[in-house]
Amino acid sequence: MKKLFIAAPLALCASVAIADDLQAKVEDMMLKSFKANGIASLDRQKQDAVQKACSSPTQPDADTMKRLEAAELATIQWPSDGNYTGGDWKEGQKIAASGRGLTWTDKTPDNNGGGCYNCHAMDPKEVSEGTIGPSLEGYAKLRGNSEEVVKYTWGKLWNSKAYNACSDMPRNGYGGILTEAQIRHVMAYLFDPASPVNQ
């Protein structure tokens, strides 16, 4: 146990040879212990900047976080026609409830679920809801629908890492998990006054 406490600060210091050696071994292991299967290719085993920076129990320093977040923010695609919330909340509900897609047993990449309920409470009447993310019950009722809130929500759904580089939430738009049309439906589920989320 003591060893662990010694190892953690060392890992933060890139100039320490032992830590670098271990890091190289982990990267090698995370590639060689896996094989491609269907749509799950070995590219998935290579980390991008955000994944790499957020792979320890401690977050990077504030400057690094800001730099990463700025780069992620630049990837967000805002709706071309300015239509943020005009989707169908009923479609959004289906997307929020489905945790399907992108595993090596899934075939197609364009009808994935958003898996929202895996981690968030949304419809107060839904009993099977995860608790890793904050509750989104009464989302628009509590937050309103100002331009700022609407834009933030779209951005968060598209690329959560733009607002917290080490967020647990997947990058739905940037990562090709959800399409623009699907994100608009989820927006409607969150903002439409008729949506169960706001009852």
Binding site: V26, M30, S33, F34, L102, W104, Y117, S128, G130, G175
Partner: protein
Amino acid sequence: MRKQLKAIAVSVGVALAAPVFAQEELNFDAYREMLADGNPAELYEMEGEELWRTARGPKNATLEQCDLGLGAGVVAGAAAQLPRFFKDTGKVQDLESRLMHCMETLQGIPSEEIVKGKFLQGERGKVAALVAYVVTQSKGEKIAVDLSHPKMKEMYELGERAFYYRTGAMDFSCASCHSQDDKRIRATQLPNITKPEGAAAGWGSWPAYRVSNSQFWTMQHRLWDCFRQQRTAEPIFASDVTIALSVFMAGKGNGAEAQWPGVKR
């Protein structure tokens, strides 16, 4: 009040396969206790015990000379001390990779057949039955994994790094779901594996019989499905990452009582 009602409603959901429990927490413990004396995993244990004693494979030999770490043929208490470093292979091996080694050396059954096979089928399915038999001989034993060998130390450290290693289409690592107390995915409770109690809860309750699909799942099988849900590429059976994560969990859970074989939703 609403939360309480929700908890009861979820319990009713669980009751599709189990009696109703009006509990505040969404848990499965009461159901598990009821099954403790009649765990369907017993059927796999019996099959595994028979496989252990039956002459099979190109060499027509039994596994009774298999050394699981405590000497040739010693099964009692062996699982509680796995994974461990084995001198004869020069490798850290978990129970499944060690059984695979014994099947190859003693019986002549090629490891490749198991590595390239599928869970619940063929020789890999037989490994699972043998696992059920072996872990039952460590029921109630305390997890006692020896981390003193340098290769074990290294595997532990690699396992810890792998635990936090974010990758795949959804940026998940093991830590995304298993590094906080009292969290759930939908109605499923998640052990906090960064703490000894949580690591022991995870390590010490697999392999397990899964009521929802009537299947017996080994730890290799469980880790494989964790990675599937993480949206990584497919982990290779008994590969280093599976052994490293096993050493990390078992090592952190050291000293806690193993509940093998477990019962899971």
